[in-house]
Each structure stands twice: as structure tokens, then as C-alpha cells.
């Protein structure tokens, strides 16, 4: 936890879709469909972003300066169509870290109050919560 994270607390909590997109981009540049797949995969289908919600959120994140447009290129795994790629900015990464920290604190509190087992057991005990972390 750094002082910089504390200064971003006024931006929190993030909308679930925004945090999911930031999380998916934390692993590297992705295009829209790639973000959608990553979100669905990481939440085991718990969060399904429609194209409307996806691009509305992307628009907001671009405006906030948390993500930026990379180049437009084809994705060899799909087809020959060119796709717009997005990546996290430094600010976006800090905001995502701050939100993750906030959620981790909540989870820690839940553990202290015996609502959860250890973090390692979460996936087994409460599959629905996994997407939040």
C-alpha cells in the first residue's frame, strides 16, 4: 500500500464492469472481444459484459485516462479483421490496485468475522465471490 493509492480513494468503489475491464487489461493489451472473453473466463461466466456495456465502460475509462488506445491490428487467434487494442495506463493501474486493496480489506474483515475461510478456500466455499477479487 502506498500513499498514492490513498489519494485515489475518492474514485472508489469502481463499477464492477470498470474494475473487470481494468483487471483484464492488467495482463496486457486486449481488444474488445478479448476483454469480454477474459472477463467471462476469470469470473467463470459470472460476469457477462454485453457489447453495449463493454464499450460504454471503455469510453468512460478512456475519458478518465485509466486506459488508452493502442494500435489497430489483427488477432491471429480469430480472423483477418483488424481490431482496436486497449491497454492500462499508469493511473489506471494505480486505480485498479486501490480498488483491489479495498476489496482485499473487505475480504480480510469477512475472514476475521468468520464469514469466510482462508483466501485459498474462497474458490471452493463461495464460488460466486471469486469474481470480486
Amino acid at each position: 500500500m502506498s500513499q498514492g493509492d490513498e489519494s485515489l480513494h475518492y474514485l472508489l468503489p469502481l463499477a464492477p464492469a470498470a474494475f473487470a475491464i481494468l483487471l483484464s487489461l492488467a495482463g496486457g493489451e486486449r481488444h474488445g472481444y478479448g476483454i469480454m472473453q477474459e472477463v467471462a473466463a476469470s469470473t467463470k461466466g459470472g460476469m457477462r459484459l454485453g457489447p453495449g456495456t463493454l464499450y460504454r465502460t471503455i469510453k468512460q475509462l478512456l475519458a478518465a485516462g485509466w486506459i488508452e488506445e493502442a494500435d489497430e491490428r489483427t488477432d491471429p487467434a480469430l480472423n483477418e479483421e483488424r481490431r482496436r487494442y486497449y491497454r492500462l495506463t499508469a493511473l489506471g493501474r494505480r486505480v485498479a490496485q486501490a480498488e483491489a486493496l479495498r476489496l482485499a480489506r473487505l475480504v480480510h474483515q469477512a475472514q476475521e468475522r468468520k464469514l469466510l475461510g482462508s483466501i485459498g478456500e474462497v474458490g471452493e466455499a463461495q464460488p460466486g465471490l471469486e469474481g470480486m477479487l
Partner: protein, 288 residues
């Protein structure tokens, strides 16, 4: 083989149909959003459709469509609401700035015009005392000393037709000389406070005066008075009688030219030299 080709054609057709329909539906988004992201959204939806069809078949495509349609309507409404809010804010801000600028300019112009008008009026007033009086004085009969003389407003009808109502008169002090018969003078009456009266001198110290209903007899001679107001054949002095009054030193008998409507020496007797301010030397053309 032919059946497989037909299935591929059907798939392509359905996917293209789905794609076209989705692109048509994008019209419900605000134009700016549609221009920026419409093509990307359609592309993503196409990818989703293809993946769903390949993995789970045509029935799953219906499920995808239901989800996509709900997502499309909800996000389009949210986007429209947000963009109209932003447009409203921008318009209000623009109007506000313009209104403030306009108001500032208008106030500046109005202030400038008022300032110039005030300057011009002050200049005029300093050269034209009646206007000076009209601008700066409320009680017209209180004397105001100005360089070169004193000015009074004639408020009543007592001196008509010689001095019309509301006209201003310039008064010069007599100095070492004395009021003469026929002079129009300004004077105080101590019993009337500070009020200044303007009347015509009819008799001076030493004169004997008689006033009948129709004429004024001064030292035994009936006065010819072309200056009095025509009273349409009525007796001029119907309300007052003065019988053989001889004026002592310093006493002056004054009357208004409008004999039917003047309060003067006929009623309050002669006035004293010490209360005479001066002679009317000019009757202003300003005023009524």
C-alpha cells in the same frame, strides 16, 4: 458434402442477418457514441455470435441475442441520458456565459450613457439656472443665490398673464435704488416663513391708494393697467376693498396682475422695504 455446404450457407446467412440486425439496432445510441464505437460493438457481437454458434448451436444464439438486446437497450438509454445531460450542461453554461457577458456589456453601456448624460446635464445646468433649479431644487420658492442674480420659480397664478405659472424669474437686488411703481418684485413675508412672493409694485411710500371693484385709484388718478389679466367683464377686485390708504416710509403696496386670483397687499397690507429681495429683471421662457 452438399448438406454440409448448405449448413454453412445457412450459418453464414443467419450470422450475417444477425449482424445486420444488430447494426440497425445501433441507431438507438447517440450519434457520437455510434460513430466512435458502433463498428467495434458490431464486430464484438459478430465474434460472440460466431463463437456461440460454433460452440453451442443456434438455440444458444437466441440466448445471446436476448442478453445482447437487453444490454444494448440499457446501455443506449444510459448513454443517451448522459449525453443529453452533458449537452444541457454545456448549453446552460454557454447561455450563462453569454448572458453574463451581455449583461456586463449592457450595464457598462448603460453606466456610460448615464455618466455622459449626467455630465451634459450638469454643464447645461451650470449655464441655465432654471434647469439647475429644476434639477436640484424641490422647493421652488426658497431663494437660491447664484452668481449674477437670484432665480425663483413662479409657482402660482398670481402674476398671470405677465408671468405664466411655473416660470422662472431672475431677480436683481435694488442696491441703493428703490422699487418704483410698476416694478415686479420678489419679497418675503415674515409671517409666511421663507416663501418668496412675486408681485407688481402699485404704490410706493407717500402714495395714497384706493381700490374699488373695477379700478385702482392712485393719488386720485385712476390707473391704466394694461398688464392685468382679463377677467371677462367681472369686477377685478370684487373680493377686496382698499380705501384711501397712505403708505408710510418703507411701505410698498403690491398686487398680482391676476387680480381675480392673487393674494397680495389688498389682503395683507403693504410690505416693507426690508423684505424686498429685488426686481424681476428677466422672465425665463422655460417652464409652463
Amino acid at each position: 458434402m452438399r448438406r454440409a455446404n448448405r449448413a454453412d450457407h445457412t450459418t453464414d446467412f443467419l450470422l450475417r442477418l444477425s449482424d445486420s440486425f444488430y447494426q440497425c439496432l445501433l441507431v438507438i445510441y447517440p450519434p457520437t457514441f455510434r460513430r466512435a464505437y458502433g463498428a467495434h460493438m458490431a464486430q464484438v457481437f459478430r465474434d460472440c455470435c460466431r463463437a456461440t454458434w460454433n460452440q453451442r448451436g443456434g438455440i444458444a444464439l437466441l440466448g445471446l441475442w436476448l442478453h445482447a438486446f437487453g444490454d444494448l437497450v440499457a446501455s443506449a438509454l444510459a448513454e443517451r441520458w448522459q449525453s443529453s445531460k452533458a449537452a444541457y450542461r454545456a448549453a446552460t453554461r454557454r447561455r450563462g456565459i453569454m448572458a453574463r457577458r451581455f449583461k456586463f456589456k449592457r450595464n457598462l453601456a448603460a453606466g456610460g450613457v448615464m455618466l455622459v448624460t449626467l455630465l451634459v446635464l450638469t454643464c447645461i445646468a451650470s449655464f441655465v439656472p432654471p434647469i439647475h433649479l429644476a434639477l436640484f431644487r424641490i422647493e421652488p420658492q426658497v431663494a437660491l443665490a447664484l452668481p449674477g442674480g437670484q432665480y425663483y420659480q413662479m409657482p402660482g397664478p398670481g402674476m398671470q398673464p405677465t408671468i405664466g405659472g411655473e416660470r422662472y424669474v431672475a431677480v436683481d437686488g435694488y442696491g441703493s435704488s428703490k422699487p418704483q411703481r410698476g416694478d415686479i418684485i420678489a419679497f418675503y413675508r415674515p409671517e409666511s416663513g421663507n416663501l418668496v412672493f412675486i408681485k407688481r409694485v402699485i404704490a410706493i411710500p407717500g402714495d395714497t391708494i384706493d381700490i374699488t371693484a373695477t379700478s385702482v385709484i392712485l393719488n386720485g388718478v385712476t390707473l391704466h393697467e394694461p398688464y392685468i389679466k382679463d377677467s371677462h367683464g367681472l369686477p377685478n377686485n370684487f373680493a377686496a376693498r382698499v380705501t384711501h390708504v397712505t403708505l408710510a416710509a418703507g411701505q410698498y403696496f403690491v398686487m398680482g396682475d391676476n387680480r381675480m386670483d392673487s393674494s397680495d397687499s389688498r389682503f395683507y397690507g403693504p410690505i416693507l422695504l426690508q423684505n424686498i429681495i429685488g426686481k424681476v429683471v428677466e422672465i425665463s421662457s422655460f417652464g409652463g
